[in-house]
Symmetry: C3
Subunit: 305 residues, 3 copies
């Protein structure tokens, strides 16, 4: 057996007792928000899970091991260190073998959660098909991970800077269920609706849990997207956000931003362009997703006991 | 163990005795043809299989279970009910968990056939890369299923409303064998030839069976497409069918048809535009595919006894 | 058990003793170079492996079996016979079942190496996304194979006739590590640099071996690309090679070359256009890759004993 996996005792105990555990990613801490809002948000989201009766399992690569469940010091380190790399599927073995500190993307967090048998994961928004992908082929590894790794991902849809219709098509081709949570439409991250109708809608955690059970008991490998719209009170104005996205994309293009720098650049530029409103919305939606994830983790744990 | 799978006693007995069994899909019944031709065709195709010495296993989701082998009442229900949903890979766990009635697409039928260990499946045409996919990414989940699920699919190629050259490229990238059955070219559904040369040709069921055995014994996961041209006597005129496809695509575009409504809309529009000729061709080619599938299922069963 | 696999006694002994073994492909012999340079190169590359302390395992399909390790007569046969087909993933079961002689592409060689548990493979360049793939979807099955089959592929990047930026994006989406070996950039086959920055760089075989161990011990299926630039002394002039590629692509287009004929046509046309310089460069980079592969196979074998 390998020893690449280190599960925090609190998480290990909860898993052992078949209690609700929810995974959290760490790219949002190191590459998604400015300090100190990043570490404050990480703690807030962990607290939201605890308030919902679930044990938080924030995931990162530290000292050559995958850590499932972080200490407060770990969170602070991820939030402040400049040497933390962004770790997706392709980077995970490299980070482990070279003992680099790594913040896990949605794809890598799914992998690590599945290794630790944590079935539910809360995040802000998944990656997707980038705008202009017809000429660049720039498509997030998150989508392929959803096709093969057994984790339910609660999110506010894909990040709005992406091409949402193409992202939905790609997920359909790959056979990934996308469940509108209390909605018939794909949410658009900062706003509640995108105009894209989804094939399936769920209105309660038990139905989601039953779908997860059916999928995985049949041996249908892969994840499930639970698309939970941003709370009404926190949603941004559609016109304002559309303008900011257009501007941020133009800026990225003019400055030649590419590869894994694109998403962090756009999120940071959006924050400036919206006078901080996009950051507040992002925090609100992540907390809302954590609350939904806790309830689904509960329902799923109960189905299996 | 789960109890999502219900195998009809006749099918279970045939499988137990290692006799030839052929899977059939149900989307063609509920979403592919008008009543009563749909149920008549379903019965005709089952009879064609029996005449070829194989047991038919029509597949659908009913009452929260995957049914392998349907009764006559089930066929009638699928042919007439308005509440039957179209179930592809992503929809399968949702239909099971919510106890929705579902007609299975090629992708979902492959999954269910593989679960029941039925290795051969007859249909009309597989899904593929949609025309205009370079700007929409609309690619059928059937193609990804063929890359991972061990079922041989006998068809008249991909539906002609699709982009056939791109469909062949996609299958090559995914490593799916496409065997021209008695032909060097990909058939074009309503017509016998597409101008697209295939890498492999087979002229008899035993050769196909040997290829299936080699693929699966080596552990090379995924399906095989057996592309069987429509019988000469039933083939439509190329010019007529090209005009009807162009018109139907224009109509779909103008009416804003999208997602899983596209294929049913186009097939139905084609029927109107060809004065019913496309429907007759569709029925003829499905029956021809069933006859070939029965012979392959026989040869494969014999190789394994 | 099947008997599709025939491992040469020398290779079997080396594997048994956990010594370094390196796989080699055979398409380069039958479809990649003119006679007699093809067979001479095959022998030279085997000798390079031996000089590096590794046992060569050249792979092909002969007489209905996958052969791991070939005799000198086998090499001569592959180099001269006109009936040897090019075998990728989709073709492998067909070649076996029909007892066709087949030269294995990168994808098929990976499959066969994995079946024989040979973890390292040296080649010239992998396939990739073809130029113009946004309108053709012509993407090599090598890339999908890298996503699922556990073999490390030492190469000089993807063949330069391809679209290198799209190839890198595709590999990222599929989660395949691409390690610059002694470089921060993707090499461009005939030249040492492409301007495309890679996420990971390795400067020694032990680091590569540790990455392979981490990836596979975690159960992260798939290959790793070790991108080793052509030796400085053998690299071609960038302007000369760009011109030759442009001309070769134009010629292929005008002559309507398509499918699996594209790469052999382009390589052969490049040789004419460069007065043989592209062929010499190709031989030099394959030998350099073999030397690196031998050192990685050593380091990996030692990690596991
Ligand atoms: Mn990307
Ligand atoms: Mn679609
Ligand atoms: Mn191709």
């Amino acid at each position: 057996m390998h020893d690449y996996l280190a599960i925090h005792p609190e998480v290990a105990e909860a898993l052992q007792a078949r209690k609700a555990v929810v995974a959290l990613e760490s790219t949002i801490i190191s590459h998604g928000m400015p300090y100190p809002r990043n570490v404050e948000t990480a703690r807030l989201v962990e607290q939201t899970l605890r308030d919902g009766g679930a044990v938080p399992a924030t995931i990162a690569v530290l000292d050559g091991r995958i850590r499932i469940g972080l200490t407060d010091d770990d969170l602070e380190h991820l939030a402040t260190s400049k040497s933390v790399i962004k770790v997706s599927r392709r980077d995970l073995p490299v980070a482990l073998a070279t003992r680099a500190d790594g913040a896990t993307t949605v794809a890598a967090t799914m992998i690590c959660a599945a290794l630790a048998e944590v079935p539910v994961f809360a995040t802000g928004g998944i990656g997707g098909v980038h705008r202009g992908a017809e000429s660049t082929l720039d498509i997030s590894a998150d989508l392929d991970e959803l096709a093969i790794t057994n984790v339910a991902v609660v999110c506010a849809g894909a990040k709005a800077i992406l091409d949402l219709p193409k992202t939905v098509e790609y997920l359909e081709t790959r056979g990934v269920p996308v469940l509108g949570y209390g909605t018939d439409e794909l949410p658009a991250f900062y706003t509640r609706s995108s105009g894209i109708k989804l094939a399936s809608r769920c209105d309660d955690p038990l139905t989601v849990a039953r779908i997860l059970r059916a999928k995985w008991q049949l041996g249908l490998k892969g994840g499930v997207v639970i698309a939970n719209p941003i709370p009404q009170s926190a949603a941004l104005d559609q016109g304002m956000i559309d303008g900011a996205i257009a501007q941020a994309l133009t800026d990225a293009d003019e400055q030649g931003i590419s590869g894994k720098e694109v998403t962090p650049f756009l999120l940071s530029r959006m924050e400036e362009l919206t006078g901080g409103a996009s950051l507040e919305a992002n925090i609100a939606l992540v907390r809302s997703n954590a609350a939904v994830a806790a309830s689904i983790a509960h329902a799923y744990a109960e189905l299996n006991t």
